[in-house]
């Protein structure tokens, strides 16, 4: 955090100054470790074993926050009698369907009930017709003594019972005393009087079990009562100015703005079905139709009427996974004609660069927008496979357009930072030359396309013809008015164009327009709320008048949990939101994340519907039953509980189960994407992990051209421990070549004790640390780490695994005829080896473009 989010880290230092214990778990010793109270070097890829052991420690030492857990989580819920755990099936849960190659989650459900997963997971399973979901929440079966062997609490207890300090030693390479020190510190700093927080940078998600990493942290935090309370939580420290915004108003294939799912071809055939499959009968998602209708009104304006289902028919439908790597694999198979890349550099920042560039070579046209031509814009020139002669520039038929972009100082607009806070940046100067904002590009491209389709009467062209696209044009360059776009996102009433103050005002009768329901109110009172800048010194520590946080300017989500079931703060020290019995409403230092007049003693009757099903002790209002999920009865594709699986390419056999890897992971079996052995590959015996440096940003598009930063961090390097250096004859400052069967890179060697060697399962394991900012263009150049990585991903969100894989390292430079897996593996070799999967998991039906995943059928045609 000190390296990648330095200014955010000043608050950690402030907490330390006030007595907080800082624990840093990271394979490397970094500037964060230098100031932490405890640094725990951990083997890359073993975090679930570590976190699962914390769960076990908390439960077996009886250190969990009982009143919180019993009232605010699903610990007491009873699970189906058909449920079988990974303890019973050597690493698999019940329900593996070996013909479909995926899980059937029905045996994971609550007893006698189907519930809807919360936001963010809805789009994965929503396809299954389950019209009555949530309707019978009140009939749910519970054991509040938490002793029934099939209640969630007992299932968790058993699931993690073998995650012991000894196992941590074996799986993570962390000495048990060190583990116990961490566990003690965490538990001593949790409870009514104290809270503990988890902060992670998104490298934590870049694993084939990435989602479950975060889930395990959530279980720990819920057991300790650290969610929805000040100083608690799990904070994703995201790496980009508006990466949270790009998820909320997604340029992501599976969602519409505000986490509404994209329609799925097989199920969501019309608006009624779409609503039926996606709304919940209970909890906040019962308001779903209002959000959807307001979005359709925002997009299709007067054309959207009750009679035509608000133009629902204009929306395209998805048929499975259309995520980044899936798309690039299709591109490499020449199935995609055109690609827009805006402010992104996949030829450096995405997995398996050689395969990325093969995709680009097989396009008809490519549009890249950036400050200067990146490696993605110039893949046809000086790319490794071009330099080596494997591919010739004059054979590459892709037409490339490079558009220079405007900087944030040359345009108005809002970023949503990592804590959901929208902050407006004002235009300071005009963009130079032909530099333009993406807003300008999208708007003018849309205007041209509307013109090209103006005369068309084809049904397929109605959506573009009816699209509302009249934004005010400003200045000589005809920049669309960004504030007007924000006003549409924030919502207004149709009749008098009065801006809405919050999502509770949205309607399903076409009377309101709102481009993103969770942002509703960001243009309240006709004022740009994101541009508010009341100095921190002039307001409370929560600073509610600086920018605007979604939803409803709430700074801390689920903050009802900061009070006890009766509505009183858990302690004076940790006071945040509470029930004011006199006023009969929730109040506090933040906007309460609850129905403001719902008394703590309210209990819904059997007839309750929608929001009325939420009781006064249901803080997690987005969940169908208002409780946080320790156990996920159906939301994830790889199981209801996080389980330790090894990375696709590991150096160790899974010490816990016969099942080596996540059974539902996404693999691409293609000749340009070969894998190493599951473990013990003697050709690639070392662990590799990639990371960022303070002075550079992602794939370098915003830093490798900036001399000040290049001076601070001038050259690509790899970090190795003195032991590994001795073993491989590497010299500090000398050259090394790091390779996988997919690519090879050279870099200067930094021999440093910051890298740790682990002794595990009787072997010494070494790690090579590889920053991933460089490639062949810019003012500071070097080889790209992602030449080494593979297409392999988490099944839930299709995020790649780049933080743990296996490599070889040798002293000296790579040959000038460097190799890349442009057309196949670097070396021909037998890859017979240990199996990654149990026999029943081995044969997954192949999807398209080499994809094998434990999920295709769930969203593909039923």
């Amino acid at each position: 955090m000190a390296e990648c989010h330095p200014v955010g880290f000043r608050w950690v230092m402030e907490a330390k100054r006030r007595g907080a214990t800082i624990i840093h778990v990271d394979p490397r010793f970094t500037r964060t470790s230098a100031v932490a109270d405890i640094h725990v070097p951990i083997r890359p890829g073993s975090d679930i074993a570590f976190l699962g052991a914390l769960v076990n420690y908390i439960i077996s030492n009886d250190l969990w926050f009982k009143e919180y857990v019993v009232n605010y989580t699903n610990a007491a819920a009873l699970v189906s009698e058909d449920y079988k755990d990974t303890e019973d099936l050597d690493g698999l849960f019940s329900g593996w369907d070996h013909e479909k190659g995926q899980y059937d989650p029905s045996s994971w459900q609550y007893r006698g009930l189907d519930v809807t997963p919360a936001a963010g997971h809805r789009e994965m399973f929503s396809g299954e017709p389950r019209a009555e979901r949530g309707a019978i929440v009140s009939a749910e079966q519970h054991d509040y003594t938490l002793t029934d062997p099939l209640c969630v609490f007992q299932i968790i207890k058993r699931h993690y019972s073998r995650y012991t300090p000894e196992m941590v030693e074996e799986a993570c390479g962390v000495p048990r005393e060190l583990f116990e020190k961490v566990a003690r510190a965490l538990c001593e700093n949790s409870g009514p009087e104290r809270t503990g927080a988890f902060c992670y940078a998104v490298g934590w998600t870049q694993h084939s079990v990435g989602v479950q990493y975060i889930r395990t942290a959530a279980i720990v935090q819920l057991l300790l009562g650290n969610i929805g309370r000040p100083g608690g939580g799990i904070m994703a420290l995201r790496g980009h100015a508006s990466i949270q915004g790009s998820t909320d108003i997604p340029t992501l294939y599976n969602m519409l703005p505000g986490y509404l799912p994209m329609p799925k071809a097989s199920y969501d055939t019309d608006l009624q079905k779409y609503i039926e499959y996606n709304e919940s009968a209970s909890g906040w998602w019962s308001e779903f139709p209002k959000y959807m209708v307001s979005l359709l009104k925002a997009w299709y304006g007067p054309a959207a009427t009750l009679q035509n289902d608000w133009c629902y028919d204009y929306l395209p439908h998805i048929t499975g996974d259309h995520s980044h790597m899936v798309t690039v694999a299709a591109m490499a198979d020449a199935l995609i004609q055109g690609y827009f890349v805006m402010g992104e550099n996949p030829a450096v920042g995405s997995m398996n660069c050689a395969l990325q560039r093969k995709g680009l070579r097989n396009l008809k046209w490519l549009v890249v927008r950036d400050f200067a031509p990146t490696e993605t814009a110039e893949f046809w020139h000086n790319a490794p496979e071009v330099v080596s002669g494997q591919v010739r520039t004059e054979d590459i038929g892709t037409e490339v357009f490079f558009f220079p972009c405007a900087a944030h100082t040359e345009k108005d607009g809002s970023f949503t930072n990592t804590q959901r806070l929208l902050q407006w940046h004002h235009k300071a100067v005009e963009p130079p030359g032909d530099c333009r904002s993406e807003l300008h590009f999208a708007w003018h491209l849309g205007r041209r396309l509307k013109e090209l389709y103006r005369a068309s009467s084809a049904p397929k062209d109605r959506a573009i013809r009816d699209l509302t696209w009249d934004y005010r044009s400003i200045g000589a360059i005809e920049e669309p008015d960004a504030e007007e776009v924000l006003a549409e996102i924030g919502g207004y009433t149709l009749g008098d164009k009065k801006s809405l103050s919050g999502y509770k005002e949205l309607k399903n009768d076409g009377g309101t327009v709102c481009g993103c329901w969770i942002y509703c109110g960001c243009y309240k009172d006709g004022t740009n709320q994101a541009a508010r800048r009341k100095p921190a010194s002039e307001q409370s520590w929560v600073a509610p008048e600086w920018g605007w946080a979604w939803p409803a300017n709430r700074r801390l989500l689920y903050n009802r949990a900061s009070a006890d079931p009766q509505g009183r703060p858990w302690s004076e020290r940790k006071k945040y939101v509470w029930w004011d019995a006199g006023e009969k409403k929730w109040t506090g230092v933040d906007n309460p994340d609850f129905i403001v007049d719902r008394s703590p003693d309210y209990r819904p009757g059997p007839e309750a519907k929608g929001i009325d099903t939420l009781s006064g002790i249901d803080p997690f209002i987005m969940q169908a039953e208002g409780k946080a999920w320790l156990y996920d009865p159906n939301g994830l594709l790889d199981g209801p509980l996080p389980t330790h699986y090894e990375p696709e390419e590991s150096v160790l056999k899974n010490p816990l189960y016969g099942q080596q890897c996540n059974p539902a992971r996404m693999e691409w079996i293609r000749k340009e994407n070969p894998y190493h052995k599951a473990w013990g590959d003697t050709d690639y015996p070392f662990i590799a992990t990639t990371y960022r440096l303070t002075e550079h940003h992602t794939a370098g598009g915003m830093t490798r051209w900036v001399p000040w930063l290049c001076e601070l961090q001038p050259e690509m390097f790899v970090e190795v421990s003195p032991e590994l250096a001795a073993l491989r004859g590497l010299e500090n400052g000398g050259w090394a070549t790091v390779s996988t069967v997919r690519g090879e890179i050279e870099a200067r060697v930094l021999v440093t004790e910051r890298m740790h060697s682990f002794v595990q399962q009787g072997r010494t394991l070494h790690t090579v640390g590889i920053p991933y900012h460089w490639s062949w263009i810019g003012r500071s150049t070097g080889d790209a780490a992602n030449e080494l990585t593979a297409f392999v991903a988490d099944p839930n969100v299709s995020i790649e695994e780049s933080k743990a894989f296996s490599v070889q390292i040798v002293a000296g430079r790579r040959s000038r005829k460097r190799r890349a897996a442009a057309s196949g593996p670097l070396v021909d070799r037998e890859v017979e080896g240990p199996e990654r999967d149990q026999p029943e998991v081995r044969e997954k039906p192949a999807g398209k473009h080499g994809l094998h995943a434990g999920k295709t059928e769930l969203t593909e045609e039923a």
């Binding site: 108003i249 340029t251 690609y339 827009f340 805006m342 944030h408 300071a428 003018h444 100095p535």
Partner: protein, 189 residues
């Protein structure tokens, strides 16, 4: 200053005569240092902004003079950053004003070996035509089982995560209306 001022200006004497023994106070000053001002006071306007790099969202002040950016500094009022910027944030000035920035549209013909400059409007027209062509050629109205698809898989998008919310919104709105579903972002990477 008196006639014999040259002697009193001699640093050691000046220190002694003013009692500034550490030599860090008045005796270290000259006319020049006394009149020094931060560059930014000369700015015509100060514009509120946000650091464009990482997700922390540090506040920035952009100082403008004669229509050009003269400096970018941290914003002391921000409850997030209280005036601080890290090395990247501090280099924002060079990011937005540096000579690395390309100012014109570049075009590489199929099988071409070099970039050519082309006018912005022409490039926009060419891209619009290509979108229409690709979309019309690859349109899928229905699945073979009769389910509606109403989309094209012939076009894809990948966006960075330093784009503004408003930009992402228009991209998603336009591309969805065109039936483009392969719309992706750094947020998944």
């Amino acid at each position: 200053m008196a006639k014999n001022g040259w002697a009193l200006r001699w640093p050691a004497l000046k220190q002694l005569s003013t009692g500034d023994l550490a030599g860090l106070g008045e005796s270290a000053m000259t006319e020049r240092t006394r009149t020094l001002r931060p560059r930014v006071v000369e700015a015509d306007k100060v514009v509120d902004s946000v650091c464009p790099f990482c997700g922390v969202g540090c506040g920035q002040k952009v100082y403008v003079k004669d229509g050009r950016i003269m400096d970018i500094e941290g914003d002391y009022d921000s409850p997030i950053s209280q005036g601080c910027l890290c090395p990247k944030g501090s280099a924002t000035m060079q990011l937005v004003t540096g000579t690395h920035r390309t100012m014109s549209v570049l075009y590489r013909r199929p099988y071409g070996r070099k970039w050519e400059k082309i006018p912005l409007d022409k490039a926009m027209d060419m891209v619009a035509e290509r979108v229409k062509k690709a979309r019309d050629e690859t349109w899928e109205e229905q699945h073979e089982k009769g389910h509606p698809l109403r989309r094209t898989l012939g076009i894809a998008h990948l966006g960075g995560a330093t784009l503004d919310n408003e930009e992402n919104y228009l991209i998603k709105k336009l591309f969805t209306a065109l039936g483009i579903v392969q719309v992706e972002n750094q947020a998944r990477i």
